[in-house]
Symmetry: D3
Subunit: 188 residues, 6 copies
Amino acid sequence: MPIVELHLLKGYGAEEKRRLHEALTSAVRLVVPAGPDAITVMIHEMATEDYSRGGKHRSGAPALPDPVDIVRRFLSAMEAREIDKAESMLAAGFSMRFPGTKPMSTLPELLDWARPRYRFVGKTYEGFDALQGSDSAAIVYCRGSLSGEWPDGTAFSGIRFMDRFEIEAGRITRQDVWNDIAEVRAQA
Amino acid sequence: MPIVELHLLKGYGAEEKRRLHEALTSAVRLVVPAGPDAITVMIHEMATEDYSRGGKHRSGAPALPDPVDIVRRFLSAMEAREIDKAESMLAAGFSMRFPGTKPMSTLPELLDWARPRYRFVGKTYEGFDALQGSDSAAIVYCRGSLSGEWPDGTAFSGIRFMDRFEIEAGRITRQDVWNDIAEVRAQA
Amino acid sequence: MPIVELHLLKGYGAEEKRRLHEALTSAVRLVVPAGPDAITVMIHEMATEDYSRGGKHRSGAPALPDPVDIVRRFLSAMEAREIDKAESMLAAGFSMRFPGTKPMSTLPELLDWARPRYRFVGKTYEGFDALQGSDSAAIVYCRGSLSGEWPDGTAFSGIRFMDRFEIEAGRITRQDVWNDIAEVRAQA
Amino acid sequence: MPIVELHLLKGYGAEEKRRLHEALTSAVRLVVPAGPDAITVMIHEMATEDYSRGGKHRSGAPALPDPVDIVRRFLSAMEAREIDKAESMLAAGFSMRFPGTKPMSTLPELLDWARPRYRFVGKTYEGFDALQGSDSAAIVYCRGSLSGEWPDGTAFSGIRFMDRFEIEAGRITRQDVWNDIAEVRAQA
Amino acid sequence: MPIVELHLLKGYGAEEKRRLHEALTSAVRLVVPAGPDAITVMIHEMATEDYSRGGKHRSGAPALPDPVDIVRRFLSAMEAREIDKAESMLAAGFSMRFPGTKPMSTLPELLDWARPRYRFVGKTYEGFDALQGSDSAAIVYCRGSLSGEWPDGTAFSGIRFMDRFEIEAGRITRQDVWNDIAEVRAQA
Amino acid sequence: MPIVELHLLKGYGAEEKRRLHEALTSAVRLVVPAGPDAITVMIHEMATEDYSRGGKHRSGAPALPDPVDIVRRFLSAMEAREIDKAESMLAAGFSMRFPGTKPMSTLPELLDWARPRYRFVGKTYEGFDALQGSDSAAIVYCRGSLSGEWPDGTAFSGIRFMDRFEIEAGRITRQDVWNDIAEVRAQA
């Protein structure tokens, strides 16, 4: 039965509101054992002239981009080896860790590391989870399986992976990657 | 500036409300680039007699337990080898995958699998992330590093891990585990 | 999906609120084709000190009694020939019309009129409908069938009737009665 | 002092809202002894994108037609002997009872029954009352007086009647009629 | 943290709303020790068709003009000796008192009184305060210092003054003036 | 028709709420030409656990004292020559100006200034006006007439005065006084 009302300055589009409806519904469900249909969300928009804090009007900021969408586009660019495009999605201070690596801060470092490990790799996604972290970063988890070719040209597939991203102000600040490649190679 | 109002049947305690305040605040921040202090949440409670759907009163269900708390207690029990206690926290139909394993459904299976791999293992937590999934399961991510002893008695530490849990109605339905053990062993 | 919020001064009991929930739900359904379950009503109570009009506090008046309940008790008293009790439920200026009568203003008038018509009569109720009139009177419709004995002692039953009552401030101000007695007698 | 707020999806016209204002005001007055001027109703409309249940948008259904208007048009058509037009306003499963009749389901049945009783009959309305029934039917009461000509050509007038209608989804499902014709004829 | 919501019929402009935001914020601050930034005001506008009292729509009245603006324009007109313009801003029944005068009701009376006192006088404003009185008049206080020339042609300046105005329906109904002219002359 | 809703943390007493009702009603009337009875104010209280900003609970601060009450008590103490009591009501940095004086900062300065001017003086109040200034000070205007004895023992009365006070955090920070004493003496 919970009913959520969100008062918001005008300026958010239908897609951005849809993300708010979903996020608020999920927030309630994390605590209240209500079926999703039992949760109602109403967004009330206000014109700038209808809202004040301290007697002064405020202007609304543009919505943050969907962090899942950012991650999807980044992973696609990486898979297609569009390194410049991928690079443009990273924040200053970007940091990344892959299995067994030290923190790396540029994509060429990653490519150097990967070269002796596989010729190429593609991702099949099983699911994405996104949430807001306690600080200003949004967090996106992406999991699924890897397929590709080992350096010797033999194919592999079905290797589990899990990526964790942090995104601030629309840029990726951190990527952490786990996968079963070493496990599979050890078993091979 | 967003203001969230949540209308709720009476019966939720201060700690449960705190979780709602945090979850609703995070939900808004995932889309609206407001500093956390700019987001206000108000919970309005109603007595049963003040709420109706279809002209009929409804009663509120007890809050769901905090899924992060469930995961913490489960991992503690596992680390302390309190298998019965850990088992009691699993739902019927529980499924679990570790690096390189097929899906397992009982803790003894896991213990069998782990025995040749390490004498014991402890976890240092770097962080927990919790969110509501799109179906009725809450999802908890837990990451950090492993330390323990290899079967030969030598110690290890600082090995990254990532666990993903699904929790329904207060019981764990699924656990997926990634870590760098094989990577580290391969490098050794 | 309609959601109704009612702001009310404190002082209404659970049964009075139940009547408000039902009446508000029905009011919406008269216009909006929503299943009853799709209509939510929330009552928000206020203490006297929390409400003002013109900067001055107001006190809430006690709820009006349920007009259907008044009609039921009046009809029971009449059927049991508890004339004093029934009389006490009438407002000054009470007016009543039965089939073929002029307006009557006292119950003895009615008894005189009824004497040559039937020895006694009882009512089986098929339904009550209550609504607020456009002025200050509540209106109650009561329909069903009559059974009893004609003056010659023969029994009758299943004769349709319809009563319409107006109630103000808890007293009956008007009663209009229709039934098929004459029709049935004519067919006999 | 009661204040009613109704949250509604966009799409209802001014006349439909007027009916909601009146119905909600009456609903409150049935329980709270407030003068009509003391009751405030505010309708808050929402665009589809601003409302969700279960995180999913819903679309609002067109308003139900005014049931009093349907009854007025039906009675006018009957009086003008526009039987096809009147017939088109009936729901499948329509049922009707007049004084002394069994349930009838078509208008020709009614005309057959009426032929030996009066040449024609017209209605002068004293008032209409409409309310939502507890199931999905709206209920309309119509009362007033009949005038017309008996089969022998003599005129009559001032005979009380009461009609009760049930309307679902804009069609009449049931009509129950009471009047004093037999009473008047018996007295003649 | 206080949050004020104002429900208002449509028709007020941005400047009129700004005055409402400020006045409501100040009203709260008079009692609640919150920094201004902690006070949020939201105005919710309604179309005529969305608001009713007693089931009947009402139309909103145009906003009252800013009383400070009225006083500023009146004082400017007086200083520029645009007596007709100033006169047009006075209500019937206007009354005015200056230091040592009886109540005067026309501007020529004032000019006669002032003639032997100074050749001309100008005002430097230190501040305006406006509030609603307990009856229908708005009250404006204006304070600052006077400069000008005495009848003998010598200049003066820096003499404190305080004016109090009452304004009803956009017209000045009363002016009370205090200043230190006599004090300064006595000291001279 | 305006309706004001104020959301407030619990902890304000009936008298403090009465001041909020009055101040909010007046705030609306300064702009909207509604009779006072047309303005409704509803205060909605929240427990600490029901309110958050930035996901964190806040505690409400005690209400500010009524500034008119402070001024009344200060003026009474001055009139009764309870200098210590009056002094205790002043803020550090207090400043005060009387007709013809430079700014003074202590009450003894004032007493020295007044001694050659009158033996004693009492105030008859015509009215108080209070409002919140644009910074954190509340402003109180007090006007009326003075009566007392000149230094030579002759009595005076009916001399107009106007006092303006600024109050912060319950202490008087500034007093500005105007009156017609010099005017009256000059006319004598």
